[in-house]
Symmetry: C2
Subunit: 347 residues, 2 copies
């Protein structure tokens, strides 16, 4: 019943908006007097207190202690983001900052993703995160063998999304560069004709290239033959995280328990990957507001994410901004939207 009231009742919404905006601005619990004085609602503190009681019962705000002001709950933030907030448009200045951050002339995939995390951090003043597009899904474009020194071969794999992977492997038999070129030429022919990914290429080699199996196997062992078998490495390389230092000066991180929780959360790649992985497969942006009930891994923090998609739709990843739940959503959300779109265009 209260839910319906709050959502339809204009006055309730006004007060909730005032409380949230007040809290975002001051980082202190906001009281009835503050709302009455600073927002033009033409209501006395006592009236506002009545409304606050309703909002509290509905679970949108709570009191840290009896005689304190009110603080938005996760539910409150969610309602604010979905219904109350007016997002600001991204300014020309910000647009220019973004374009400056990307040095477009001189780039590779790693650079771009790294610059994206920087752009996210710089503009939002929170911590930007970029999840790289998955490599294994994409088909191969080119393969190359380079003999680095006797018995050591560097295998370079180029994927259609312009991502380059390389592995240095040891082979018992020293294969000359000329011979290597023969192998790579033949594999590249197959790659071009069949338009295949790693798994398919592996099958083709096994079924159709019996004559060279021995040599090819010793070259490819540890690369194509077990490409995705290193989760640790994939974790580390597919995530680009901006500096967490920008956040340390936020007032909520003044007690060291929270600082530690925050630093540990940001550094726990499993959590971040999990959430950004969810975001990747969404159609549109998604907002994770941490609370004990939902997304308890990031209690007190919020993560705003958006998927990005290359123009040919071959590449799909996601970006995000993580910061305190008391976050400037109305500024951050357009930034995320803009950068996700921009990133989709340039990759």
């Amino acid at each position: 019943m209260e839910d319906i009231d709050i959502i339809t009742n204009e006055r309730c919404k006004d007060v909730l908006l005032a409380i949230i905006e007040g809290y975002l601005a001051t980082a202190n619990p906001v009281g009835s007097k503050f709302v009455s004085e600073n927002y033009y609602l033409n209501l006395s503190p006592a009236s506002i207190r009545n409304i606050m009681a309703i909002l509290e019962e509905g679970g949108y705000i709570y009191q840290p202690h009896f005689s304190a002001g009110r603080v938005p709950t996760a539910k409150g933030y969610k309602f604010y983001v979905e219904s109350l907030m007016k997002t600001e448009k991204i300014s020309k200045k910000q647009r220019e900052t973004i374009k400056k951050t990307f040095h477009l002339e001189n780039r590779n995939m790693g650079d771009i993703l790294h610059q994206t995390s920087r752009a996210l951090s710089d503009l939002s003043h929170y911590t930007g995160i970029v999840l790289a597009p998955e490599t294994s899904q994409t088909n191969l474009l080119h393969i190359e063998f380079v003999r680095v020194k006797p018995n050591n071969i560097l295998v370079i794999m180029v994927f259609k999304n312009a991502i380059v992977e390389n592995r240095l492997i040891y082979v018992y038999k020293d294969i000359k560069q000329n011979e290597l070129n023969g192998y790579s030429d033949r594999l590249n022919e197959i790659i071009e004709k069949r338009d295949c990914g790693i798994d398919e290429l592996r099958n083709i080699i096994e079924s159709e290239m019996c004559d060279d199996k021995e040599n090819l196997y010793s070259i490819l062992n540890g690369t194509i033959l077990n490409f995705t078998n290193n989760p640790d490495r994939n974790l580390a390389n597919s995530l680009y995280i901006g500096p967490e230092t920008v956040l340390l000066d936020e007032p909520e991180f003044s007690n060291n328990k929270q600082i530690k929780f925050f630093i540990k959360t940001i550094n726990d790649k499993k959590i971040i990957i999990k959430l950004l992985g969810l975001a990747k497969n969404c159609e549109t942006k998604r907002i994770f507001i941490g609370s004990d009930a939902e997304w308890s891994e990031i209690t007190g923090l919020s993560l705003i994410t958006a998927p990005y998609l290359s123009e040919d739709k071959a590449l799909r990843g996601s970006i995000g901004i993580i910061g305190p739940s008391r976050m400037n959503y109305s500024q951050v959300i357009p930034i995320i939207d803009f950068i996700a779109e921009f990133l989709g265009e340039i990759i």
Copy 2:
């Protein structure tokens, strides 16, 4: 005068050693009574107090406040590390842990450096740092052009140290893969014959390959022609830093001012690069103990570094471990030594 006393006087050294070891173990200022009871010096607290007064005058220890025990100063730590400490040998267990951390079958340069920072962190329980060997100094081994899509060419450069760099560039004229192969073949011929680095190759192209200048220039623009012009990127890519979270539980990081200072220091790549850059050009390991007087950028922290060198001496970089000044030097130093040597062998 006091200096001479302390360095020659056995009793002074014993007490200093006791104080430092006591402080390393407990993280609390150590008093005369504690030393007298826990170390077999056969001295009463009063006698130890007399010696402490001498040590304090010499600047090796200090009192946080009047009625507190003594804490080593940076000078004290330095003397301890150089003259007092007995380094423990690295255990078999640790040796095995290191070898497990490196998956030797399946590696590339980035992986290895990343694993190194992990190994440093895991073994020391502090934060490991790896400075990658400089790329620009090394000569080229191979160059390859791959047409990713119309007008987009991926330039792959392989250096003799097995480091692979790639850049995606836009060219106004769409060059087919066949033509690209021609260019790369010719460049690879040059590279093999002349054994040259990027700068030399650039000169050779400019002076000797006039006929193809136009096409080659549009391909190479932004790669070979201005290879090192992206300091930001170099900074980010050449440094591998282990998790800082391991350190957060150290007792010195219980007040939030110190946590913030520490996190900011670790994340300030300029500081780290500066110190590891110094270390790289040293012959042997080096220990930076932060104090207001010396290395004030890392006050309260210590950084132990060692250079590493590949067997053919082409590759030179450095590794380090950063942690609180109250660090377990006797365990960390052999770890650094061992890993620096190990890394030199496998790259």
